[in-house]
């Protein structure tokens, strides 16, 4: 079986490779893989693009059928495994833990990305970073304010989210509007 959202990725989805196998297989859901995400050049170099890169290039939705392929979940995972790295929730062995702790001894706890490290020296960019950090701090603070409500029932959870959004909207009136625009790609 395949997901209904396939229509967003390709209008002529029946032309995608492995379509017949995917539709006839009732035991598992087949994933639609963008070939452009991982491409090996004739020189042997592997080019990796994220989903966001493809979206920016306008090649994520409404693709031609030859740019997509149906894969089983296991096959899809195998392709993306080198990018995704360790699976969430999987436990590290004692040896690995020791190795990591020895390698990180005497180093600061949080390593910021190279980009952030570079931008930190530029006052304008640093201010923008600090604005984002302030927003994150606000989100944390609101959460600590409200987590007194126990999130037992789904209704309580929904109420909590409503309350959270209301409080956050007070602090940043344009946040949800901007996020909506950003998601729409305007």
């Amino acid at each position: 079986m395949i997901s209904k959202s396939i229509k967003n990725f390709c209008k002529k989805y029946w032309e995608i490779e492995n379509y017949v196998e995917a539709v006839n297989d009732t035991t598992q859901t087949w994933h639609c893989h963008h070939r452009d995400e991982i491409r090996t050049l004739p020189s042997g170099m592997t080019v990796i693009r994220s989903a966001q890169d493809l979206k920016d290039a306008g090649r994520y939705y409404d693709c031609p059928a030859n740019e997509l392929i149906f894969l089983t979940a296991a096959e899809h995972r195998k392709i993306h495994k080198p990018i995704l790295g360790r699976k969430k929730g999987s436990k590290l062995s004692e040896e690995t833990k020791k190795k990591i702790s020895e390698a990180t001894k005497g180093k600061p706890k949080e390593y910021v990305s190279d980009v952030m490290h570079r931008e930190w020296s530029d006052p304008d960019k640093r201010e923008k970073r600090l604005e984002h950090m302030n927003e994150a701090a606000d989100r944390r603070r609101i959460h600590t304010d409200i987590t007194a409500h126990q999130l037992e029932s789904p209704e309580a959870k929904r109420e909590y989210m409503r309350e959270y959004q209301r409080k956050y909207r007070q602090l940043h009136p344009n946040y949800y509007k901007n996020r909506y625009r950003r998601n729409k790609g305007e």
Binding site: K107, P108, E110, V112, S121, L130, N134, A137
Partner: protein, 55 residues
């Protein structure tokens, strides 16, 4: 009593940012932490002044 929520918000922001910077490998982190500390102190002073004036 005046509304001090904005001051508390600023203090929380500055403190959490300082905490993040302190645990990072960012360049000139001491200076930035000192700046933020000064900012927090100023805010506390302003709160004290406002409280006194309201009393």
């Amino acid at each position: 009593m005046p509304d001090l929520s904005l001051f508390w918000r600023e203090i929380y922001r500055a403190k959490s940012n300082a905490d993040f910077i302190a645990h990072s490998n960012l360049p000139n982190k001491k200076e930035h932490i000192e700046e933020l500390d000064k900012h927090v102190q100023k805010l506390y002073e302003q709160i004290a002044i406002l409280k006194e004036s309201s009393d």
